[in-house]
């Protein structure tokens, strides 16, 4: 046991060392480009405030994510199952809003967010490992290590975010990716297998996409006002539908959704994501 902890600490050190040199030496690997095509418009001055606003938003989310994860981890380590269950889903929302950034950071997303069988058993850690213990076993036994590592991974995420070069292309594809996340795992209840808190992730992904649209809407309006209007309507329709599933400060369990609820939400996602995927026209000169 002792050896294990030492090894774990060493691994952490190595990760952090690696991270430091990585950030200092070369920015490129973490820089996010969506394609090698011309992005003439992307170089003009008008993008700077937009990109800065988005960077600020993601950093705020990541900062709060650390604070909330700390609370969650504390509850897990204290063996307070009820408290941990209560904090689990709301905490994850800070992550789900900025998932495109995390995705851009290689292994970090699986370390924080992998579901069972997404990775090899020996590598499986993060939120869903703890979720399984909380809901399946109603226990935090054996979760201390995972809790510690989760907090370290979340802090590492925040640190690495400094190295991400946010480009206009990331915003455009990121918004669609957030909705694709919803489409492929949240709307079918496959993200939160044990807690069934999928709707929290659903809402957070949509909020993350909505934030991007909010930042881009003026640009889009200049290029194609009708498209902008269609997207705005798509968000409004979806948000209205989601509000029906609010309860208290949170959202109902996925298990309470009937087949027709799932179908309705899925279709609203498709109705929004299709025009949203046309936002790339703002990258054209």
């Amino acid at each position: 046991m002792k050896f294990k902890i030492v090894a774990f600490l060493m691994a952490c050190t190595i990760v952090f060392t690696g991270c430091g040199s990585n950030a200092a030496d070369k920015n490129e690997p973490a820089a996010v480009t969506t394609n090698d095509g011309k992005e003439a418009a992307a170089t003009d001055d008008t993008w700077e405030p937009i990109v800065n606003s988005y960077r600020q938003f993601t950093i705020e989310q990541a900062d709060t994510f650390i604070i909330e994860t700390e609370k969650f981890v504390t509850a897990v380590k204290a063996g307070d199952v009820e408290k941990a269950k209560q904090l689990y889903a709301p905490t994850r929302m800070y992550y789900e809003r900025i998932e495109p950034i995390a995705d851009a950071l290689g292994d970090l997303d699986p370390n924080i967010d992998a579901r069972e069988n997404d990775v090899e058993e020996k590598d499986w850690r993060g939120f869903h490992r703890i979720e399984q213990a909380l809901w399946e076993k109603n226990s935090t036994a054996g979760m201390d290590d995972y809790a510690d590592r989760l907090l370290e991974d979340v802090k590492l995420l925040r640190a690495l975010m400094e190295t991400v070069e946010v480009e206009p292309g990331l915003l455009v594809t990121g918004a669609v990716e957030l909705l694709n996340e919803v489409s492929s795992s949240k709307v079918v209840g496959e993200e939160e297998r044990y807690s069934h808190t999928d709707l929290y992730d659903f809402v957070a992904n949509v909020e993350g996409a909505s934030k991007i649209h909010e930042l881009l809407k003026d640009k889009l309006n200049e290029k194609d006002a009708a498209l902008n209007e269609q997207i705005a309507k798509g968000f409004a329709d979806l948000e209205q539908a989601l509000s029906a599933y609010k309860t208290g400060d949170g959202y109902v369990s996925y298990l309470e959704l009937k087949e027709e609820d799932t179908k309705k939400l899925s279709r609203l996602i498709d109705a929004l994501a299709e025009p949203l995927s046309q936002m790339g026209i703002i990258l054209e000169a």
Partner: protein, 439 residues
Amino acid sequence: MTRPIDSGPDQGEDKETGMLKKSISRRDLLRLAGVGGAGLLFGGAGVGGLFSTKERTAAKNSASEAKTADKNNIISFYGSHQAGIVTPPQDFIVFAAFDLTTASLDEVRMLFKAWTAASASMTSGEMIGSSNNNVNMPPSDTGEAAGLTPSRTTITFGVGPSFFDSRFGLAGKRPEALTELPPFGGDELRSEWSGGDIGVQVNADDLQIAFHAIRNLARIARGKAVLRWTQEGFQRTSGSDPTGSTPRNLMGFKDGTGNPDVHNETEMKKVVWANASDGAGWMDRGSYMVVRRIRIRVEVWDRSTLGDQEATFGRHRDSGAPIGAAHEFDKLDLESKDDKGKPVIPMRSHVRLAHGDGSVKILRRSFSYSSGMDHKTGQLDAGLLFICFNRDSRKQFIPMQQRMGQSDLLNEYIVHTGSAVFACFPGVKEGGYIGETLF
């Protein structure tokens, strides 16, 4: 090149009739040529005399309305009538019913304009839209039909009774002929295969091309309409039956269908095409479409004796001849009795009931379907995607199906699981859009 009717040395010398003159296949003639009598859901009745010289000649000389393909296998999307109705059936179908999610008639209009443009491109074998080489955008065409020949693709649009509810203020324009079907004997209809605000029939000699069309139409509709149900269908291809003999349905029987002659314009006006004088001016030159998803109880059928199977259809399986006759196209003799005084062709056989008194006709355009299996029972989910066009279902399809639903021996082996009706718009000229007479 897959079809005999589209190839040959004298092709092009006479675009309209040259193909027919030359090498119309037996199979196509079966479909095209009229024999009077009943239209059938299954099997063929009253096909005697089909290949009489007189009718062959008639078929050859009046090709003007039937939508035949040009030398590039293109069937024009534009025309007086929509393509895909009197067009000789292609090898495949992908049918889709849509429900509108928008409440704005303006958006419906925009949708049909966009669908018209996309359909004109797809039926010509061209890519949809102009943004197919821009790395910053999702391509406007999904690409799986790129480089393929047009393959006689047709796309046919209609609207269902629900389109005329209170949403769009068009209740007053609903044609009386566009009525919901009454319950029939043998119906076990399921909502997941029934109804729809809009019906779209895509036919092509290539399933990938047909799928591509429905997929792209659904994509274009996002935010305005959603898929309600879809069904793919097939029949044996011309490649596997170059002689063009009568196709068999999944019960193993020849499905010759006593269709009226699509080249006989007078007949088509009587049987298929709606007329302004029928009540709804916007449906002039349109047609009413009935879609029925008919599952065959395959396992039950397969363990019935050949004798029972033949008595059910009233025909011999191998030859397709009426019971007691030798050849497929021998006359259907409903009067003859066996030595015990029983009718040779059983009273409740499909062929006899379908024939009726011979006065009711529809233009049927069905395909077989296979949708994997029914996981509840572990049995095959396969059958017939029955489609017919008629001028007024109240006078044609409905009475016919009432007769069959009540007493057809075939009902022991089939069940109707899906149903929908649509008013298919008249055709449009280039520059116009589908549905313009209504919206």
